[in-house]
């Protein structure tokens, strides 16, 4: 009778890692976050991508209980952000600051560990963040990348279900960024939920399973990198069509979902939301051959979706 059925346990663990509903934050007359809705499931690696001032940091602050929404609700694993923090369910790596220069790397981790009910051993998190050799170094003497890995080590301490990273690699050199992401990547393989804000497109593309594009305090696109690239700018279908005539090109332009047709000698370039339909048409009803379908870059999608007035 006291036994918990597996189904009940599963239902309970299925509370979303993050549930934001109608989240709104205003600073004076500026609305930083404007009725944002977002649900993140456990185990997802999500990039929150957007230009500066899109509302990424304000959203993350509310997710962590660092600030209160003016409207809407925040739930982290079915509880309030403050409670999730106190239980060690969620930790964060913030953009900059937040370290005492006069402590050593090991002391900083030791101090943070002392504040939680239960943590992994200090030596273990230093190892996982690649800081074992830097343990005795003063924080003031650490490079930007080392300081960021220290923040990551602190965030690993309570073995959280969710790690939130706010622009974690800002100001790091290429090598520092690579090492930092390697540490995160290795850690995420353990099944932890990771949410990171970034304005580096390549980071979102390379490290996230899902990209949430934020602009003007709202979610403007949500999906895998490939979905977002396709959704906005469409795909580019290129084919060789010897002797294509202008009326034939105009007919292509008239197909549903085609945005643009360009002729370069014997090569025809078709931009379309539904590249499959275009490809099928080209291969079955025209002499076109050597067909290629390419996604336009995430950068195109990013600009199209986050530039006010641009078609999306």
């Amino acid at each position: 009778m006291t036994q918990t059925t597996p189904r009940e346990a599963t239902a309970a663990t299925r509370a979303p890692a993050v549930a934001l509903r109608g989240l709104t934050k205003r600073f004076g007359t500026v609305t930083a976050v404007d009725g944002l809705d977002l649900t993140i499931q456990p185990g997802e690696i999500v990039a929150v991508l957007g230009p500066n001032g899109a509302g990424k940091t304000s959203t993350i602050d509310m997710m962590l209980g660092l600030s209160r929404p003016d409207a809407g609700t925040v739930e982290v694993f079915g509880t309030s952000p403050r409670s999730a923090v106190a239980h060690g369910l969620v930790t964060a790596v913030m953009q900059s600051g937040g370290l005492l220069k006069d402590l050593t790397v090991a002391e900083t981790v030791e101090l943070t560990a002392a504040l939680f009910a239960h943590t992994r051993p200090v030596a273990e998190v230093l190892e996982r963040a690649g800081l074992t050799e830097k343990a005795g170094r003063r924080v003031a003497q650490c490079s930007g990348g080392e300081q960021q890995r220290l923040r990551f080590a602190m965030a690993l301490l309570p073995e959280p279900e969710l790690i939130v990273l706010d622009e974690p690699t800002t100001g790091m050199d290429v090598e520092g960024r690579r090492e930092f992401w390697n540490a995160i990547r290795a850690d995420a393989e353990r099944g932890r939920t990771v949410v990171f804000a970034t304005h580096y497109l390549d980071e979102a593309d390379a490290y996230a399973d899902r990209i949430v594009l934020v602009s003007g305090g709202r979610v403007v696109a949500d999906g895998t990198a490939a979905e977002i690239k396709a959704r906005t700018a469409g795909r580019l279908v290129t084919a060789t069509w010897a002797g294509i005539s202008t009326p034939e090109a105009v007919a292509l332009r008239a197909l549903r979902g085609v945005e643009d047709v360009e002729l370069r000698g014997d090569t025809v370039l078709v931009r379309a939301a539904d590249s499959d339909a275009v490809a099928r048409h080209l291969l079955t009803t025209t002499p076109a051959r050597d067909l290629q379908i390419t996604s336009r870059g995430l950068e195109d999608a990013f600009l199209a979706l986050t530039t006010p007035g641009a078609p999306s």
């Binding site: 309970a12 663990t13 694993f77 409670s83 370290l99 101090l111």
Partner: protein, 266 residues
């Protein structure tokens, strides 16, 4: 249904007792303060140095009596209070530095309760305050000029130590008021003025009457009178106790008020 059910992970996890207060945190806080060279000179070297500079070992002070002891003993107590004031204020005001560095924000990403944080700051202040009082007393003892009964040494040192808690509250208040890493540079002269007005550097009867009347309402006055009471055999001064209690309450309320504004804005 599922959305309303807190995660099973929540049930497996505990919130630390006592709002995250821990002795490791306290130990590291004390170590940080002791590592800071400026704080050390300020709180552990200056007070005994002042005792010597102000003539603690002079023939006149050695022979002039003051209550149950001599004037040198009076100076030992005064500079123990001064050291305790400096130590408490430095420890409290360190929150200004931590706010400037973003460390306070980082701590809000841990289970640490703000009350536990402030208690840790006050206890850190008291540990360093105890060191400062001890050093002045040891210098007073080994240089041999100061004379007072053994129990007066002990009682006055304890009162100097505990009474200076008003300055831990003062330091916290200023720490939340002034967003600066250099807050102690501002507080040094302020503390010197408060010590003067509180009759720590020179007996108040050497000031003019108006100043004497004002001085009784300044924050260092109460702890000074109470610390000297055993030596001067003046009994328990209710006004002095009220001075310490009221100023401590005012500074603590100010710290809480500023703290609330601070966290509302972030």
């Amino acid at each position: 249904m599922t959305a309303a059910v807190p995660s099973a992970a929540l049930a497996d996890r505990r919130v630390p007792p006592l709002g995250g207060f821990s002795l490791t945190f306290l130990r590291l806080e004390v170590r940080r303060l002791l590592r800071n060279r400026r704080t050390m000179v300020f709180t552990l070297v200056m007070p005994p140095a002042f005792y010597l500079l102000f003539g603690g070992l002079s023939e006149a002070y050695r022979t002039d009596s003051a209550g149950r002891g001599n004037v040198s003993a009076y100076l030992v107590i005064s500079f123990a209070v001064y050291g305790s004031m400096l130590a408490n204020t430095s420890a409290g005001a360190s929150v200004a530095v931590e706010r400037a560095l973003g460390w306070s924000r980082q701590l809000r990403l841990t289970p640490l309760n703000p009350v536990a944080y402030m208690v840790t700051k006050v206890l850190t202040a008291m540990v360093v305050g105890a060191l400062s009082v001890a050093i002045v007393n040891v210098v007073g003892l080994v240089t041999g000029a100061a004379h007072m009964p053994g129990w007066v040494w002990v009682v006055s040192a304890l009162v100097a130590w505990l009474g200076a808690i008003v300055f831990a509250a003062f330091g916290l208040f200023i720490g939340y008021l002034v967003p600066s890493e250099n807050v102690m540079q501002l507080l040094g002269p302020v503390l010197a003025l408060l010590a003067l007005m509180g009759g720590i550097f020179v007996p108040l009867d050497q000031l003019n009457h108006t100043l004497q009347d004002v001085a009784k309402f300044t924050p260092a006055y109460g702890v000074g009178v109470l610390a000297r009471a055993a030596l001067l055999d003046t009994g328990v001064d209710v006004a002095a106790i009220a001075n310490v209690v009221v100023w401590t309450a005012l500074f603590a309320a100010g710290a809480v008020w500023r703290f609330r504004r601070d966290t509302a804005r972030v």
